[in-house]
Symmetry: C2
Subunit: 403 residues, 2 copies
C-alpha cells in the first residue's frame, strides 16, 4: 500500500499510521482530521461528498463521537481513509482537503471523562521503592498481584504544547518542623502512554481482558507532571492529589489501535501468575504488551529512552482491573500506564529516577525541572508496513510559579 | 414569607428551602424543576411565560447550564421562584405547572466533571487511625496541616435510589498468603456532604477561601460506598481505587447555598492555625462550617446521627486547597467532605467505625452491609425562616454480587 501524498511515504506518518486529531483553520470551527505526512486531511467534507453514514462525527470538536461509534466503525473508517490516500482515483476529490500542519491549530483531541493513572512498570516501582525506602523491600506486597492505580484530575488534562506553570503548595522536608508554602522545588515529569476509551461499558459489567480492543479506541503520549515535594507531604494515606492535579499533558494525535498491530509483544513475564480476571482467554498465551520506544528530550537533548515493552502489566490487564469491581467506562475515559522505566539507568522515565531522588545530577547538573525547561516526549513503534510510525509527541515548557 | 402551595408551609420543603432537581413525566424529556412541599415546579414553561432571560437553562437535562450562569443568576432565580410561590397574584400562572412528586421520575441532577473526596472529619480520621494502627498516633503528620483528599470516579456517581451491586475484587487478609478474588465481605457506607461547583475557574488561578460562594452552587447528600477489604489490599501507596469506584450515590436534589444561610457556624477550632491560603480574609474570624444534622438509617432504623458541624476542615477550605496548585474547577465538579463522624459513638458515619473495624457488632449484630440492606442518609439544617429544612436524601439498597 503506497500513498500518493507527497512526502508521506517513508516518513513516520506514512499510510500505515494515520492518527486522528482535532484541528481548526483560522476563523473556522475545530473538526476531526487525520494526519498523513505533514498534512491534515479534513475528513468532514470528504465524508459528506462520499455520503458516509457517519460523516457527522467528523464535524465535532472532539473525537468522542467518532470513538463512540465502536470498533467496527473505527476499523471501517480506517479502511476508507487508507483507500482515499492510496488510491489515485480519489486524488482529485481528496487533495483539496489536505491542509499543511503549519496552517492549522491542533486542539485537545478528546473530551476526557475519568482519568486513571497506573503504576505498571516494575522497574519504575522498584526504583521509587529503593529511593524512598532504601532499607526495605522495594516493592509493596500488593504490587505483583494487581496493577496499582488511582484516579487523576480530568479537568486539567491539556494538549501537548500547553505551558505548565510551576505549582505552589505545602511541602515539608524531614528536617522541617512544620510545612511551608511556596513553589514546588522538585517539579518532575512522568513519561507515560495513555489509552483512550471509545465504546462505553455498563455499571456492574466488567470488561474482560479479551474485550480490550472492543473498548479502547487508541493511544496517546502522556506526561504526568508531578511535584514531588507536594506529593511526598500530602500522599498518606489517600494517594497523590495536588502533587499531580495541576496538569497532565497528552499528545494532540490519537493513534488508533490498528496502527499498532505490528507492535504487540509478550510482556516480560509475570510472577506470580495473575488471578484469572487478569489473564487472556484460555489458550491465548501470556499477556501482550506493546513495543513502543520513548525518548525523553530535555531542552533539545535526549536524556532517556524508556522502552514500553518492559512494562509489567499490559494495557488489557489495566482495563480488566479498572472495571472488575463493576465500575463502568465512558467514551473519552483515559487511563495511563504510569511512568515507563526500563531496567537500565538510561531508560528511566522520570527525573526522580534519573537523578536518584535528587542525589545524582544528570544532564549538565539537572535534578528536577527548572523554569524555562522544555520537555518533549517522543514515541515510535513498528508499523504494519515494516518501517516505524510515530505517535503524537508531548511537549511542555515550565513557566515560573504565579506571583 | 408564606407560600400559597398546599401542604408546603411548615414542612421540611417550605418556601425557605427550594432545592433544584431534574425531573421528567412519562414520555417527556427531563428538565429542571424546583421542589416545594411534595410538588415539583416545572420551571421551563413558567420562565418562558415570564420571558426570563435565562429560561433556556431550565430545558436542560442537568443543572449544569443553570449552575454555569454564576452566583448573581443563582440568587436572582431564587428570588424569582420565591416570589412565584409566595405571591398569590402569580398563582394562576404557576399552579398548573406544579407536579406531584409521585408523578415524576427524578434524574441525576448534575453532569459531574471531576469528583474529589476529602477526609475532613477529625473524629473519623482519628477513629480510622485507632482501628488500623491501635499502637500508633491515630492522626498522620499531615492531617492537621492540610485537608487530605483524593480524586474519585465521576463516571460512577449515581442518583439516590440506584441499587448498588456488591463489588468483587482482590482482597488479602493478614492471615492469607496470597490474595483471593470474590465479592467484598466488608461493604460499607460513608455518610458525607457534597459540594457542587457552578462557576468554573481557570487553570493557574487558585480559588481563595473568600470566593467559595462565587464558585459553589449548592450542596448534595452523598454516600461514598466503600469495600473495606478491597481498599485495604490495594490502597498503598496511591490511595483508594476499586474499593470506592463502583458507586457513589448523591441526592436527587441540590440545595442552593442561599437556603443554608442560617446554617453557618464556626468550625470547632483548628490547631495549628492553618497556612494563610486556608484562612478567611483579614478580620473575618475563624473558618465557617455548616450545622447540618445527618441520620444514617439502616433498614428503617436510625443507627447513627453524625453532626456535620463537628467537621474540622470547612467547605471553603476544601475548595481553596483543591485549587491552590493551580488546578481549575469546572461547572459540575463535585467535592465531598469525607465521612462525617462526631465525637460520640452514636455519631459515626461509617459501619467501619460503628462496628469498630468489625469487632463490635451493632444494630442487631450488623458489622458490614448484607445483601438486601437498605441505607438512607437524611440531612436537615436550620432554615432561614426559623424552622428546619431537609436536604435531598440518599438511599441505596445492596444487591448480591454478580454471578
Amino acid at each position: 500500500m503506497t500513498t500518493w501524498v507527497d512526502g508521506a511515504a517513508g516518513s513516520l506518518f506514512d499510510i500505515d499510521n494515520l492518527p486522528y486529531g482535532v484541528f481548526s483553520r483560522p476563523g473556522e470551527e475545530p473538526r476531526v482530521g487525520v494526519r498523513i505526512g505533514d498534512l491534515v486531511l479534513d475528513l468532514s467534507p470528504v465524508a459528506a461528498a462520499e455520503m458516509l453514514d457517519v460523516h457527522h462525527v467528523f464535524q465535532e470538536r472532539s473525537l468522542n463521537a467518532l470513538m463512540a461509534e465502536g470498533r467496527l466503525v473505527r476499523e471501517s473508517v480506517r479502511r476508507w481513509v487508507t483507500g482515499l490516500l492510496s488510491d489515485g482515483t480519489e486524488r482529485d476529490l481528496v487533495e483539496p482537503h489536505l491542509v499543511p500542519l503549519a496552517d492549522v491549530t491542533l486542539h485537545l483531541p478528546v473530551e476526557v471523562g475519568d482519568y486513571v493513572d497506573f503504576y505498571a512498570s516494575l522497574d519504575h516501582a522498584t526504583n521509587v521503592g529503593r529511593i524512598f525506602r532504601p532499607d526495605g523491600e522495594p516493592l509493596l506486597p500488593n504490587w505483583r498481584h494487581l496493577p496499582v492505580g488511582y484516579h487523576g484530575r480530568s479537568g486539567t488534562v491539556v494538549g501537548s504544547g500547553t505551558p505548565v506553570t510551576r505549582p505552589q503548595g505545602q511541602r515539608k522536608s524531614p528536617t522541617d518542623d512544620t510545612p511551608t508554602f511556596g513553589p514546588s522545588t522538585r517539579l518532575d515529569i512522568e513519561a507515560e502512554l495513555g489509552f483512550v476509551v471509545g465504546t462505553p461499558s455498563s455499571i456492574g459489567e466488567p470488561v474482560s481482558y479479551d474485550d480490550f480492543a472492543d473498548h479502547v479506541f487508541g493511544v496517546v503520549g502522556l506526561n504526568d507532571w508531578s511535584a514531588r515535594d507536594i506529593q511526598a507531604w500530602e500522599y498518606v494515606p489517600l494517594g497523590p492529589f495536588l502533587g499531580k492535579s495541576f496538569a497532565t499533558s497528552v499528545s494532540r494525535w490519537v493513534t488508533p489501535l490498528e496502527a499498532l498491530d505490528a507492535a504487540w509483544v509478550d510482556v516480560p513475564g509475570q510472577d506470580p501468575t495473575p488471578l484469572p480476571y487478569l489473564r487472556p482467554g484460555t489458550g491465548a498465551g501470556p499477556a501482550r504488551g506493546l513495543d513502543i520506544g520513548v525518548e525523553v528530550v530535555l531542552n533539545g537533548a535526549v536524556v532517556s529512552r524508556p522502552p514500553y515493552r518492559t512494562m509489567y502489566w499490559s494495557p488489557a490487564q489495566l482495563l480488566a482491573h479498572l472495571t472488575v469491581n463493576g465500575a463502568s467506562v465512558r467514551t473519552g475515559d483515559l487511563y495511563a500506564s504510569g511512568t515507563i522505566s526500563g531496567p537500565e539507568a538510561g531508560q528511566r522515565g522520570s527525573f526522580l529516577e534519573l537523578s536518584w531522588g535528587g542525589t545524582e545530577p544528570f544532564a549538565d547538573g539537572r535534578t528536577f525541572l527548572e523554569d524555562g525547561d522544555e520537555v518533549v516526549l517522543r514515541y515510535t513503534a513498528p508499523g504494519t508496513a515494516g518501517g516505524r510510525i510515530a505517535l503524537g509527541e508531548v511537549t511542555g515548557r515550565v513557566e515560573p510559579a504565579r506571583e
